[in-house]
């Protein structure tokens, strides 16, 4: 287990390296950094002085190395909008985003597992057709539109729930429903097809022949095996969900990382943008690692020795 963990962590290194190279190139493409530091009427001599003082006259690989060391220390530079270091600003918003992501995932599972199961067990019944039709429709609807329609229905007309913000406990209901349903559609589809595959297996017949109760067979023998491909997609969907949270946070004015990132992009507060992108990528990679470990509990055949 520990060797597996170590090898998985090692595999992340090249990806992280490429990510930092890409961020470095992007930041340099964004314009001469000296121009952000010098005051507008600086003379060419003054500019050259600043360039030398910050090391911007050095070769690019050397500059990259310096920036990499800074990033590793968590130093992404200062936000010009807030006049404070960029990384703490982003991390401060992380709990709100994670809260939304986790609740949304829970909503997605609560919708996807029953509907995927039912549509597989009652294949080709009207119920199955309805689930399939709704999930196809869900694929076609942009999540921000679902969000707006939910605001229209639950907040404007029925006045059951708050429109936006994060002041009340009920504030999370609409954003989590929006994000959750958009993920639930594809999860339900995957569970349906993997469950259909499992139902045809011989151990299912054996379990039935033993005289086990129908639901014991379905839950204990069926679902548990059908969940293995489901978990793979679940990990991929988590990345998708974190991306989608940017849009949903904007629609519902949810004070998370996505909204901070979006507003920083609009005013080109680059240090916050880069810190935000890095944190998002790290969260996604960590989630994928976590999903890999879920396999062991689901399927004892998979052991991480090699």
């Amino acid at each position: 287990m520990t060797t597996y963990l170590a090898s998985r962590l090692l595999q992340m290194v090249p990806s992280l390296f490429l990510l930092t190279v890409a961020l470095f190139v992007l930041m340099r493409l964004g314009g001469d950094p000296v121009m952000h530091l010098a005051h507008p009427e600086a003379s060419p001599e003054e500019i050259a002085e600043i360039r030398a003082a910050y090391g911007f006259d050095r070769p690019w690989p050397e500059q990259y190395w310096k920036q990499l060391l800074m990033m590793l220390r968590g130093d992404f530079g200062e936000s010009f909008r807030f006049r404070s270091p960029a990384l703490p600003l982003v991390l401060e918003k992380l709990p709100a985003t994670m809260e939304l992501a986790l609740v949304s995932m829970l909503v997605a599972l609560l919708i996807a597992i029953p509907s995927g199961l039912i549509s597989a067990i009652y294949q080709n019944s009207p119920l199955d057709l309805a689930v399939t039709a709704i999930s196809t429709l869900g694929r076609a609807m942009p999540n921000f539109w679902i969000g707006i329609m939910m605001i229209l229905l639950f907040a404007v007309y029925l006045e059951w729930l708050p429109v936006s913000g994060r002041l009340e406990t009920t504030s999370i209901v609409l954003p989590a429903l929006t994000l959750g349903t958009s993920v639930a559609t594809s999860l339900a589809r995957i569970l349906r097809s993997s469950m259909l595959e499992v139902i045809r297996q011989e151990y299912m017949t054996t379990a039935k022949a033993k005289g086990l109760h129908r639901w014991v067979v379905i839950m204990g023998h069926g679902l548990r095996n059908a969940l293995i491909p489901f978990v793979t997609v679940f990990g991929l969907q988590m990345a998708w969900l974190l991306g989608g949270s940017v849009i949903v946070e904007e629609v519902f004015a949810w004070p998370g990382m996505g909204r901070l990132l979006l507003n920083s992009v609009k005013v080109r507060d680059l240090s916050v943008v880069m810190a935000g992108v890095c944190v998002f990528a790290l969260v996604v990679m960590a989630t994928n690692l976590l999903v890999d470990f879920l396999y062991t509990t689901l399927d004892p055949r998979i052991r991480y020795s090699s």
Binding site: S15, L19, P142, G244, F280
Partner: protein
Amino acid sequence: MTSSRPEASQSPWEMVDAPRRQGRRRLWRLRKSPTGLLGAVIVLCVTTVMLLAPEIVPHDPEKIDLQQRLVPPIWAEGGSGTHVLGTDQLGRDVLSRIVLGTRVSLLVGLAGVSLAMLTGVFLGVTSGFLGGWWDMLVSRALDTFLAIPFIILALAVIGVLGVKGGNNMLRLILVLGLANWVIFTRVVRGEVLAVKERDYVEAARAIGQRSWRIMLGYVLPNVMASIIVLSALQISTVIIAEASLSFLGLGVQPPTITWGIMLADGRDHLATSWWLATFPGLAITVTVLGFILWGDWLRDVLDPRLRE
């Protein structure tokens, strides 16, 4: 692809006629799939609307008429017969704007997918076929791009390039291409790895063909079916991505009309005018649904292996 090769027992005439008959058989299969047919009809309709947009709009989509502000749709209370889907906060006709919005959505979608396809296929074919350090580099880049959600990647690139100024349509297409090449590379690379072990590739190599000729002449035609199917399926993804970015104010900028911008405007008038945010969203949903159903059908016919 190879399965379409005529049998030796066929007469020469039948061999000449075979592709045409096969085409007819595929059309027949479309008739047997109601959802595929629905998708094809929607795609055809939306494309027609896009091509004819300036001719068929009932009103000038940009004409401001402050006396006709926020008129509800024709069937709602207070609706007027001249504006079927009502008017917006500046008195502009909603239906006309949706019709004209089709152009940007579809054009940007098609251009974005084309760019992603060209980049992705080039990287997929070369890395799969040549292998070595190039393959390793491309594979690592794949892993990295997979770790970053599309919208975050778009935010990083747009953040650097800036929201305002420059050709924002071109920038949007670039971002969409950059975010979607990954899936093409992943699928194509996998197929190329299988194709390059086939005998005909071996034979081509044996007679001294150069690598680039083998890639273009032997490998590419054999992975074409997957590329076509994937492109059709990706159009729906890219249309939603374009709408999302425009909705966030990062895509095409006003006064250009797109569904995403209309939705963003409509959001500010939710309490009073429900139709402003409802209809552009419906337009996106119907269009995307058409491409999804059509793409799913195309996949089932051309390349069932791609099914999840």
